[in-house]
Symmetry: C2
Amino acid sequence: MNVAAEVQAKGKLAREAARTLANLNTARKNEALLAMARALEEEKDFILEANARDMAAGKEKGLSRALLDRLLLNEKRIQDMAVSLRELVALPDPVGEVTSMWTRPNGLQIGRVRVPLGVIGIIYEARPNVTVDAAGLCLKTGNAVILRGGSEAFNSNRALTRVISRAATAAGIPEGAIQLIETTDREAVNLLLRANEYLDVLIPRGGAGLIRTVVENATVPVIETGVGNCHVYVDAAADLEMARNIVINAKTQRPGVCNAMETLLVHEKVAAEFLPSLAEALKEKGVVLRGCERTRELVPWAEAATEEDWATEYLDLILAIRVVDSFEAALEHIHTYGTKHSEAIVTSNYQTAREFLARVDAAAVYVNASTRFTDGYEFGFGAEIGISTQKLHARGPMGPEQLTTFKYIIFGSGQIRQ
Amino acid sequence: MNVAAEVQAKGKLAREAARTLANLNTARKNEALLAMARALEEEKDFILEANARDMAAGKEKGLSRALLDRLLLNEKRIQDMAVSLRELVALPDPVGEVTSMWTRPNGLQIGRVRVPLGVIGIIYEARPNVTVDAAGLCLKTGNAVILRGGSEAFNSNRALTRVISRAATAAGIPEGAIQLIETTDREAVNLLLRANEYLDVLIPRGGAGLIRTVVENATVPVIETGVGNCHVYVDAAADLEMARNIVINAKTQRPGVCNAMETLLVHEKVAAEFLPSLAEALKEKGVVLRGCERTRELVPWAEAATEEDWATEYLDLILAIRVVDSFEAALEHIHTYGTKHSEAIVTSNYQTAREFLARVDAAAVYVNASTRFTDGYEFGFGAEIGISTQKLHARGPMGPEQLTTFKYIIFGSGQIRQ
């Protein structure tokens, strides 16, 4: 089958499946999730064998150790996928919730009811666990999904999709609810980007390059995810012990993710007291520092930061540091270089805290907490398909609710418009 | 100034204005709306003079009478614009509303607060009242707006924008909150479509051609509006008197708008009783009928409908009619040809009504009421910027709330992630 025919056939099948999925009851969807979890456990050898082929090809291609680690599956990781499917069962089903209902003067009763988006396209890079997580969350929310994973994980993704989609179908889920584009031909991505007839939304998950390609070329509506150039601003009125803990956590607890801090802003009034000992602590954790001139007066061994540093999402143990004259200067810096993901202030001043919350434009704005909490699980959503950095539809961590839309249902008794 | 420089300069100014607008209090915004209304009244001669130039050019160009009527301004129409601005004052301000707030086990308090989208681009065709309506609604919701109207209304739009933006600025609204692209160069549209740095969302308002161009070429997120191939299905269990009133209303009350009915579906069991007298009534109203074969057995003078008719949004006094075997056949027809705008059933059967509401995928699904109610005012939103036919972010009539997004505000006491 050529790639255009494959995308079209799978798109049609997904569109049909979505019609049935939209009205499946929660019990049926939950049974399918449990069946999928069981199938992963029962067919782990089939999955591991496929993954071994990807790993061998990856080593031959000279993939980095980090990439190979992301690609690797083992019993523990398959077990984790099964657990995450079972956790979805416990979550409330957002579909069918009437979020408001009102009656108009003419007697028309208008309700707003949550419904699935329909067919969701997910384009992602190496991690094979995305295959299972995304399929599970889409099923829970009554959406059909078309997956397109990275070529390095091709065999793993195919094996995972076969196992879970077969289990889902056997549990009464319509065929076509969970599909993978089974070609490494890059043309498949181009076709998905313009498959408005079949896809209601596209969610790219991966590096900045992938996301840019999708945003630039898609005609299907996109939810942009991922890029986080996050700041922590330590105010003149900060509790410096608290600030130290938050800064170290936001930078080092998991530096490779989008909600990690990339630049530290420090008010000049507390810089001399705060920075030298903080710098030592960060150095011990292996963090490379790149400071402005005033930072380097206090921490002479820090490298010199350039304009580029302020704009860079390192995703690594590197931290840019800037001493600012004022709260306003911190806001300006964040406005200029931030990516509207997660921004934090450490302050004990009531007015400053309120101003920061009101004036910083980002998905998540924190007072006295680490930026690392921007996450569907940490927010209490119970699951996550990514973190939106755009403003339309979904902002910040996307849980089950963000994979739904709504329709208006109107109960009349013969009303006509005057 | 060349067109690229204009779009860039206005984009930057709008972006700056949006920062201030986001935190203006409601009283200030309302005062500005009142000042804008007064200015329209006071400077009506200036506006009418500009409109006269557009009208003269339009007549010379041979615009249709319908188009000229849409273009025309007079004292009454200017007064209507002023009234609609004043009505916005009475509406609740959605900005700042905390729609939910919860506390996590670690003590983090997470709130979801409504904020403006930021900068909204609106690309529209002839009607100059859109200039004022859109600017007013964007201001009410704390958004900056960049308007790009049709070239036929160029002078009218420029005069209107000058009058209202000057009044707004004098009332303390930042410069750049309301701007019009002041060139008829079509390149301006192409630049707006890709102005991701300056625009948070684009809303096209106009014909199918305009909307297609925007969806196909925009990299800025778009809210698609407008196309409505709407159906009324008269069920076997319908109250036929009610059905007759609804069908006549949905087709003839205002045929040129997107929520008017375009195809009537009738269950075979009631077709013989229902169609002949309905057809006479529609004929009296000047409606041209295009029927399937079974319709034409009952209404011999109806034209023969073709496949194309089922897919056509006439926006005119033309109605396609199809007799269907069953409720399922009606659902299939709507699924195949509908545009997910507004769909209605007339039935007195409880189960059939519920099935229709659950299984029809459209922004507004009606039981026993005319499709003509899909409208921000009729829904009680108090204003409307268009009717979304996509599923992301906004669906159906877009009122003030749909011009907002949200951010999470998180109150901590030193929390770090484990």
